[in-house]
Protein backbone atom coordinates (compact mmCIF):
# COMPACT_ATOMS: atom_id res chain seq x y z
CA UNK A 1 0.00 0.00 0.00
CA UNK A 2 1.32 3.44 -0.85
CA UNK A 3 2.21 5.89 1.88
CA UNK A 4 -0.49 8.29 3.04
CA UNK A 5 0.69 11.68 1.80
CA UNK A 6 0.13 14.70 3.98
CA UNK A 7 -0.30 18.33 3.03
CA UNK A 8 -0.35 21.40 5.20
CA UNK A 9 -2.75 24.08 3.96
CA UNK A 10 -2.58 27.82 4.47
CA UNK A 11 -6.08 28.59 5.71
CA UNK A 12 -7.19 32.20 5.52
CA UNK A 13 -10.84 31.58 6.26
CA UNK A 14 -11.94 32.51 2.75
CA UNK A 15 -13.49 30.35 0.08
CA UNK A 16 -10.33 29.67 -1.94
CA UNK A 17 -8.40 27.86 0.75
CA UNK A 18 -11.55 25.96 1.70
CA UNK A 19 -11.84 24.68 -1.87
CA UNK A 20 -8.14 23.95 -2.24
CA UNK A 21 -8.25 21.64 0.77
CA UNK A 22 -11.36 19.87 -0.38
CA UNK A 23 -9.80 19.25 -3.82
CA UNK A 24 -6.88 17.58 -2.07
CA UNK A 25 -9.14 15.53 0.19
CA UNK A 26 -10.97 14.29 -2.89
CA UNK A 27 -7.63 12.92 -4.04
CA UNK A 28 -7.06 11.10 -0.76
CA UNK A 29 -4.50 13.51 0.71
CA UNK A 30 -4.50 13.98 4.49
CA UNK A 31 -4.61 17.70 5.26
CA UNK A 32 -4.07 19.86 8.32
CA UNK A 33 -4.36 23.64 8.26
CA UNK A 34 -2.36 26.52 9.58
CA UNK A 35 -3.61 30.01 10.00
CA UNK A 36 -1.35 32.95 10.76
CA UNK A 37 -2.17 35.73 13.16
CA UNK A 38 -0.18 38.86 12.34
CA UNK A 39 -2.22 41.18 14.55
CA UNK A 40 -3.60 42.92 11.47
CA UNK A 41 -6.04 40.19 10.49
CA UNK A 42 -9.57 41.34 9.92
CA UNK A 43 -11.10 38.47 11.90
CA UNK A 44 -13.90 39.64 14.12
CA UNK A 45 -12.09 42.17 16.33
CA UNK A 46 -14.23 45.15 15.72
CA UNK A 47 -17.26 42.92 16.04
CA UNK A 48 -16.10 41.87 19.46
CA UNK A 49 -15.69 45.48 20.46
CA UNK A 50 -18.67 47.25 18.97
CA UNK A 51 -21.85 46.79 20.91
CA UNK A 52 -24.13 47.00 17.90
CA UNK A 53 -22.26 44.13 16.28
CA UNK A 54 -22.34 41.92 19.33
CA UNK A 55 -25.70 40.40 18.60
CA UNK A 56 -24.57 39.09 15.24
CA UNK A 57 -23.17 35.60 15.50
CA UNK A 58 -19.42 35.80 15.51
CA UNK A 59 -17.18 33.14 14.19
CA UNK A 60 -13.57 32.76 13.29
CA UNK A 61 -13.70 31.89 9.62
CA UNK A 62 -10.49 29.87 9.63
CA UNK A 63 -11.85 27.67 12.42
CA UNK A 64 -15.17 27.46 10.63
CA UNK A 65 -13.46 26.29 7.41
CA UNK A 66 -11.46 23.70 9.30
CA UNK A 67 -14.61 22.36 10.88
CA UNK A 68 -16.38 22.15 7.52
CA UNK A 69 -13.41 20.25 6.16
CA UNK A 70 -12.91 18.04 9.19
CA UNK A 71 -9.25 19.02 9.50
CA UNK A 72 -7.10 20.14 12.40
CA UNK A 73 -6.17 23.80 12.45
CA UNK A 74 -3.13 25.34 14.08
CA UNK A 75 -3.19 29.07 14.63
CA UNK A 76 0.30 30.51 14.71
CA UNK A 77 1.06 33.74 16.48
CA UNK A 78 3.56 35.55 14.23
CA UNK A 79 3.03 39.04 15.65
CA UNK A 80 6.68 39.63 16.53
CA UNK A 81 8.30 38.07 13.48
CA UNK A 82 5.87 39.83 11.19
CA UNK A 83 7.24 43.24 12.12
CA UNK A 84 10.32 42.70 10.00
CA UNK A 85 8.12 41.80 7.02
CA UNK A 86 6.09 44.96 7.44
CA UNK A 87 9.02 47.30 8.11
CA UNK A 88 11.33 46.14 5.36
CA UNK A 89 9.48 44.44 2.56
CA UNK A 90 11.91 43.48 -0.16
CA UNK A 91 9.19 43.80 -2.78
CA UNK A 92 7.54 46.89 -1.34
CA UNK A 93 3.94 47.63 -0.55
CA UNK A 94 0.69 47.24 -2.42
CA UNK A 95 -1.90 50.00 -2.63
CA UNK A 96 -1.56 50.82 1.08
CA UNK A 97 0.73 49.38 3.76
CA UNK A 98 0.20 45.79 2.66
CA UNK A 99 3.46 44.00 1.86
CA UNK A 100 1.56 41.16 0.20
CA UNK A 101 4.37 39.48 -1.70
CA UNK A 102 6.78 39.47 1.23
CA UNK A 103 3.92 38.41 3.48
CA UNK A 104 3.14 35.43 1.28
CA UNK A 105 6.80 34.45 1.10
CA UNK A 106 7.07 34.68 4.88
CA UNK A 107 3.95 32.60 5.47
CA UNK A 108 5.00 29.91 3.02
CA UNK A 109 8.41 29.83 4.67
CA UNK A 110 6.80 29.35 8.08
CA UNK A 111 4.57 26.66 6.61
CA UNK A 112 7.66 24.94 5.22
CA UNK A 113 9.25 24.90 8.68
CA UNK A 114 6.03 23.46 10.07
CA UNK A 115 5.85 20.87 7.30
CA UNK A 116 9.40 19.70 8.01
CA UNK A 117 8.92 19.64 11.77
CA UNK A 118 5.73 17.58 11.47
CA UNK A 119 6.83 15.28 8.69
CA UNK A 120 4.33 16.48 6.09
CA UNK A 121 5.00 16.18 2.37
CA UNK A 122 3.89 19.41 0.76
CA UNK A 123 2.10 22.72 1.15
CA UNK A 124 -1.11 23.87 -0.50
CA UNK A 125 -2.67 27.31 -0.82
CA UNK A 126 -5.91 28.55 -2.33
CA UNK A 127 -4.11 31.02 -4.58
CA UNK A 128 -5.44 31.73 -8.05
CA UNK A 129 -3.41 33.42 -10.78
CA UNK A 130 -4.48 37.01 -11.28
CA UNK A 131 -6.78 37.03 -8.28
CA UNK A 132 -4.81 39.60 -6.35
CA UNK A 133 -2.68 42.33 -7.87
CA UNK A 134 0.56 41.74 -6.01
CA UNK A 135 1.11 38.25 -4.66
CA UNK A 136 -1.01 36.20 -7.03
CA UNK A 137 0.41 37.01 -10.44
CA UNK A 138 1.97 34.60 -12.86
CA UNK A 139 5.32 36.36 -12.47
CA UNK A 140 5.23 36.63 -8.67
CA UNK A 141 4.05 33.12 -7.88
CA UNK A 142 7.45 31.58 -8.70
CA UNK A 143 9.06 34.26 -6.52
CA UNK A 144 7.14 32.90 -3.53
CA UNK A 145 8.42 29.42 -4.27
CA UNK A 146 12.00 30.56 -4.71
CA UNK A 147 12.32 33.03 -1.85
CA UNK A 148 10.52 30.84 0.68
CA UNK A 149 12.77 27.93 -0.25
CA UNK A 150 9.79 25.61 -0.69
CA UNK A 151 10.43 25.23 -4.44
CA UNK A 152 8.25 22.51 -5.96
CA UNK A 153 6.63 21.35 -2.75
CA UNK A 154 4.08 24.14 -3.04
CA UNK A 155 0.91 23.18 -4.87
CA UNK A 156 -1.93 25.53 -5.74
CA UNK A 157 -4.76 23.15 -6.56
CA UNK A 158 -7.12 25.82 -7.94
CA UNK A 159 -4.73 27.01 -10.65
CA UNK A 160 -2.13 24.24 -10.85
CA UNK A 161 -2.95 23.43 -14.47
CA UNK A 162 -1.72 26.88 -15.45
CA UNK A 163 1.58 26.44 -13.61
CA UNK A 164 4.58 24.15 -14.00
CA UNK A 165 4.31 20.69 -12.54
CA UNK A 166 5.10 20.37 -8.85
CA UNK A 167 6.64 17.50 -6.90
CA UNK A 168 3.31 16.06 -5.65
CA UNK A 169 2.11 15.88 -9.25
CA UNK A 170 5.36 14.42 -10.59
CA UNK A 171 5.48 11.78 -7.91
CA UNK A 172 1.88 10.83 -8.59
CA UNK A 173 0.68 11.77 -5.09
CA UNK A 174 -1.95 13.93 -6.76
CA UNK A 175 -3.42 13.74 -10.25
CA UNK A 176 -2.78 16.87 -12.27
CA UNK A 177 -5.80 16.35 -14.46
CA UNK A 178 -8.05 16.53 -11.41
CA UNK A 179 -6.67 19.93 -10.44
CA UNK A 180 -8.00 23.25 -11.75
CA UNK A 181 -7.04 26.07 -14.07
CA UNK A 182 -8.78 29.06 -12.50
CA UNK A 183 -7.40 32.48 -13.31
CA UNK A 184 -8.34 36.12 -13.09
CA UNK A 185 -10.48 38.09 -10.72
CA UNK A 186 -13.75 36.36 -11.46
CA UNK A 187 -15.22 34.39 -8.55
CA UNK A 188 -17.62 32.36 -10.67
CA UNK A 189 -15.55 29.16 -10.96
CA UNK A 190 -14.95 29.14 -7.21
CA UNK A 191 -18.63 29.61 -6.53
CA UNK A 192 -19.52 26.80 -8.89
CA UNK A 193 -17.01 24.51 -7.22
CA UNK A 194 -18.34 25.49 -3.79
CA UNK A 195 -21.77 24.49 -4.96
CA UNK A 196 -20.50 21.18 -6.26
CA UNK A 197 -18.91 20.42 -2.89
CA UNK A 198 -22.01 21.61 -1.04
CA UNK A 199 -20.37 24.52 0.78
CA UNK A 200 -22.73 27.29 1.78
CA UNK A 201 -22.42 30.29 4.04
CA UNK A 202 -18.68 30.71 3.41
CA UNK A 203 -16.98 34.04 4.09
CA UNK A 204 -16.62 36.45 1.18
CA UNK A 205 -14.12 39.02 2.38
CA UNK A 206 -13.95 42.20 0.37
CA UNK A 207 -10.44 43.40 -0.44
CA UNK A 208 -7.51 41.81 1.32
CA UNK A 209 -7.28 39.60 4.34
CA UNK A 210 -5.90 42.24 6.66
CA UNK A 211 -6.20 45.82 7.83
CA UNK A 212 -2.97 46.78 6.07
CA UNK A 213 -4.91 46.96 2.81
CA UNK A 214 -7.26 49.53 4.34
CA UNK A 215 -6.45 53.13 3.42
CA UNK A 216 -7.72 54.67 6.63
CA UNK A 217 -5.89 52.13 8.73
CA UNK A 218 -2.66 52.80 6.86
CA UNK A 219 -3.03 56.53 7.56
CA UNK A 220 -3.40 55.83 11.28
CA UNK A 221 -0.47 53.45 11.36
CA UNK A 222 1.77 55.91 9.50
CA UNK A 223 0.72 58.62 11.95
CA UNK A 224 1.62 56.34 14.87
CA UNK A 225 5.09 55.77 13.47
CA UNK A 226 5.63 59.45 12.73
CA UNK A 227 4.56 60.49 16.21
CA UNK A 228 6.93 57.98 17.80
CA UNK A 229 9.78 58.86 15.49
CA UNK A 230 10.25 55.17 14.74
CA UNK A 231 8.51 52.40 12.90
CA UNK A 232 7.51 50.26 15.85
CA UNK A 233 4.35 48.93 17.42
CA UNK A 234 3.02 46.52 19.98
CA UNK A 235 -0.13 44.44 19.68
CA UNK A 236 -2.07 46.91 21.84
CA UNK A 237 -1.14 49.76 19.49
CA UNK A 238 -2.43 48.05 16.40
CA UNK A 239 -5.59 46.92 18.16
CA UNK A 240 -6.29 50.47 19.29
CA UNK A 241 -5.99 51.69 15.71
CA UNK A 242 -9.08 49.63 14.94
CA UNK A 243 -11.14 51.29 17.66
CA UNK A 244 -12.69 54.74 17.99
CA UNK A 245 -12.18 58.05 16.31
CA UNK A 246 -8.51 59.09 16.20
CA UNK A 247 -7.86 62.81 16.43
CA UNK A 248 -4.44 64.46 16.47
CA UNK A 249 -4.74 68.17 17.28
CA UNK A 250 -0.96 68.51 17.79
CA UNK A 251 2.10 66.39 17.05
CA UNK A 252 2.63 65.55 20.73
CA UNK A 253 -0.68 63.88 21.46
CA UNK A 254 -3.61 62.02 19.99
CA UNK A 255 -7.14 61.42 21.25
CA UNK A 256 -8.93 58.12 20.83
CA UNK A 257 -12.63 58.87 21.20
CA UNK A 258 -15.04 55.96 21.64
CA UNK A 259 -17.83 56.01 19.06
CA UNK A 260 -20.21 53.91 21.11
CA UNK A 261 -20.56 52.08 24.38
CA UNK A 262 -18.83 48.89 23.33
CA UNK A 263 -15.77 50.83 22.26
CA UNK A 264 -15.89 52.79 25.52
CA UNK A 265 -15.82 49.56 27.51
CA UNK A 266 -12.93 48.31 25.45
CA UNK A 267 -10.93 51.53 25.85
CA UNK A 268 -11.62 51.43 29.57
CA UNK A 269 -9.32 48.40 29.70
CA UNK A 270 -6.40 50.70 28.86
CA UNK A 271 -6.81 53.06 31.80
CA UNK A 272 -3.48 52.08 33.30
CA UNK A 273 -1.59 52.75 30.09
CA UNK A 274 -3.29 55.95 28.90
CA UNK A 275 -4.76 58.93 30.69
CA UNK A 276 -8.44 59.54 30.02
CA UNK A 277 -11.01 62.26 29.63
CA UNK A 278 -14.55 61.62 30.82
CA UNK A 279 -17.58 63.85 30.53
CA UNK A 280 -19.40 63.94 33.88
CA UNK A 281 -22.20 66.47 33.39
CA UNK A 282 -23.61 64.84 30.24
CA UNK A 283 -23.48 61.62 28.33
CA UNK A 284 -20.22 61.48 26.43
CA UNK A 285 -17.60 59.20 24.97
CA UNK A 286 -14.70 57.79 26.92
CA UNK A 287 -11.51 59.20 25.45
CA UNK A 288 -7.93 58.00 25.79
CA UNK A 289 -4.97 60.33 25.41
CA UNK A 290 -1.84 59.03 23.75
CA UNK A 291 1.04 61.42 24.45
CA UNK A 292 2.13 64.13 26.87
CA UNK A 293 -0.02 67.24 27.16
CA UNK A 294 0.68 70.77 28.35
CA UNK A 295 -2.11 72.44 30.30
CA UNK A 296 -3.10 74.28 27.10
CA UNK A 297 -3.23 71.01 25.20
CA UNK A 298 -5.41 69.56 27.92
CA UNK A 299 -7.87 72.44 27.62
CA UNK A 300 -8.16 71.97 23.88
CA UNK A 301 -8.42 68.19 24.23
CA UNK A 302 -11.24 68.53 26.75
CA UNK A 303 -13.08 70.99 24.51
CA UNK A 304 -12.82 68.58 21.59
CA UNK A 305 -14.18 65.71 23.68
CA UNK A 306 -17.00 67.97 24.93
CA UNK A 307 -17.86 68.54 21.30
CA UNK A 308 -18.63 64.81 21.01
CA UNK A 309 -20.74 64.77 24.19
CA UNK A 310 -24.43 65.35 24.60
CA UNK A 311 -23.55 68.72 26.11
CA UNK A 312 -22.09 70.00 22.84
CA UNK A 313 -24.67 72.82 22.62
CA UNK A 314 -24.34 73.81 26.29
CA UNK A 315 -22.29 76.80 27.45
CA UNK A 316 -20.19 74.56 29.68
CA UNK A 317 -19.47 70.88 30.18
CA UNK A 318 -17.97 69.26 33.24
CA UNK A 319 -15.28 66.67 32.78
CA UNK A 320 -12.59 64.70 34.52
CA UNK A 321 -9.03 64.16 33.46
CA UNK A 322 -7.76 60.90 34.97
CA UNK A 323 -4.08 60.07 34.76
CA UNK A 324 -2.66 56.54 34.62
CA UNK A 325 -2.24 56.37 38.38
CA UNK A 326 -5.97 57.12 38.80
CA UNK A 327 -5.55 60.71 39.99
CA UNK A 328 -8.65 62.73 39.02
CA UNK A 329 -8.60 66.39 37.98
CA UNK A 330 -12.07 67.96 37.54
CA UNK A 331 -12.46 70.41 34.64
CA UNK A 332 -15.07 72.74 33.18
CA UNK A 333 -14.81 73.62 29.50
CA UNK A 334 -16.70 75.28 26.70
CA UNK A 335 -17.36 72.74 23.95
CA UNK A 336 -15.54 73.50 20.73
CA UNK A 337 -17.76 74.86 17.96
CA UNK A 338 -18.52 72.60 15.00
CA UNK A 339 -16.31 74.66 12.67
CA UNK A 340 -13.39 74.62 15.10
CA UNK A 341 -12.75 70.88 14.88
CA UNK A 342 -10.24 70.90 12.05
CA UNK A 343 -10.49 68.26 9.39
CA UNK A 344 -6.71 67.82 9.32
CA UNK A 345 -6.82 66.60 12.93
CA UNK A 346 -8.92 63.62 11.95
CA UNK A 347 -6.91 60.52 11.15
Amino acid sequence: MSKQRKAVALISGGLDSLLAVRVMQEQGIYVEGINFFTGFCVEGHTHAIRKKDRKKPKRNNALWCAEQLGIKLHILDIIEEYKEVLFNPKYGYGANLNPCLDCKIFMVKKAKEWMEAHDFDFIITGEVIGQRPMSQRKDTMPVVQRDSGVTDRLLRPLCAKNLPQTLPEREGWVKRDELYDFSGRTRKPQMALAKKFGFEDYAQPAGGCCFLTDKQYAVKLTDLWQSRGAREYELDDIMLLKVGRHIRPAPNYKLIVAREEGEGNFLQGYKRQYSQLRVTSHGGPLTLIDGELSSEDLQLAARIVARYSQGRMEPEVEMEFIDTSGHVQPMKVVPLGPMDVKSEWML
Partner: protein, 76 residues
Amino acid sequence: MSRVTLDCQRLLCPMPVIRVQDKALQMHPGEEIEAICTDPGALNDIPAWSRINGHEVLETRAENDLYYVVVRIGEG
Protein backbone atom coordinates in the same frame (compact mmCIF):
# COMPACT_ATOMS: atom_id res chain seq x y z
CA MET B 1 -7.89 16.09 38.00
CA SER B 2 -5.54 18.99 37.43
CA ARG B 3 -6.95 22.18 36.01
CA VAL B 4 -5.03 25.28 35.00
CA THR B 5 -6.55 28.73 34.70
CA LEU B 6 -5.58 30.94 31.76
CA ASP B 7 -6.16 34.64 32.05
CA CYS B 8 -7.23 35.81 28.58
CA GLN B 9 -8.80 39.07 29.70
CA ARG B 10 -8.49 41.97 27.25
CA LEU B 11 -7.25 39.63 24.54
CA LEU B 12 -9.22 39.71 21.34
CA CYS B 13 -9.88 36.62 19.28
CA PRO B 14 -8.00 34.71 18.09
CA MET B 15 -5.48 35.39 20.89
CA PRO B 16 -7.50 33.49 23.54
CA VAL B 17 -7.62 30.49 21.19
CA ILE B 18 -3.87 30.73 20.60
CA ARG B 19 -3.24 30.85 24.36
CA VAL B 20 -5.41 27.77 24.94
CA GLN B 21 -3.82 25.96 21.99
CA ASP B 22 -0.27 26.67 23.17
CA LYS B 23 -1.10 25.64 26.73
CA ALA B 24 -2.76 22.45 25.49
CA LEU B 25 0.51 21.42 23.82
CA GLN B 26 2.15 21.25 27.25
CA MET B 27 -0.66 19.27 28.85
CA HIS B 28 -1.77 15.66 29.00
CA PRO B 29 -5.06 14.01 28.01
CA GLY B 30 -7.68 14.39 30.72
CA GLU B 31 -6.22 17.58 32.15
CA GLU B 32 -8.32 20.73 32.01
CA ILE B 33 -7.89 24.36 31.05
CA GLU B 34 -10.21 27.10 32.20
CA ALA B 35 -9.90 30.22 30.04
CA ILE B 36 -11.24 33.48 31.44
CA CYS B 37 -11.94 35.91 28.61
CA THR B 38 -13.45 39.32 27.96
CA ASP B 39 -14.00 38.84 24.22
CA PRO B 40 -17.37 37.09 23.82
CA GLY B 41 -16.04 35.60 20.57
CA ALA B 42 -14.10 33.18 22.75
CA LEU B 43 -17.39 31.44 23.56
CA ASN B 44 -17.56 30.37 19.91
CA ASP B 45 -13.92 30.15 18.96
CA ILE B 46 -12.50 28.06 21.80
CA PRO B 47 -15.25 25.41 21.45
CA ALA B 48 -14.78 25.37 17.65
CA TRP B 49 -11.04 24.94 18.10
CA SER B 50 -11.67 22.17 20.66
CA ARG B 51 -14.05 20.25 18.39
CA ILE B 52 -11.62 20.42 15.49
CA ASN B 53 -8.65 19.27 17.51
CA GLY B 54 -10.34 16.54 19.51
CA HIS B 55 -10.73 18.22 22.89
CA GLU B 56 -13.89 18.34 24.98
CA VAL B 57 -15.61 21.51 26.12
CA LEU B 58 -16.92 20.89 29.65
CA GLU B 59 -18.45 24.27 30.26
CA THR B 60 -19.05 27.71 28.78
CA ARG B 61 -20.60 30.47 30.83
CA ALA B 62 -20.90 34.24 30.95
CA GLU B 63 -20.74 36.03 34.27
CA ASN B 64 -20.32 39.76 34.94
CA ASP B 65 -18.89 40.53 31.50
CA LEU B 66 -16.43 37.65 31.81
CA TYR B 67 -16.62 34.55 29.67
CA TYR B 68 -15.43 31.21 30.98
CA VAL B 69 -14.61 28.20 28.82
CA VAL B 70 -13.42 24.92 30.33
CA VAL B 71 -11.71 22.46 28.00
CA ARG B 72 -10.61 18.89 28.74
CA ILE B 73 -7.59 17.83 26.70
CA GLY B 74 -8.30 14.92 24.37
CA GLU B 75 -6.14 12.02 23.25
CA GLY B 76 -5.24 13.49 19.83
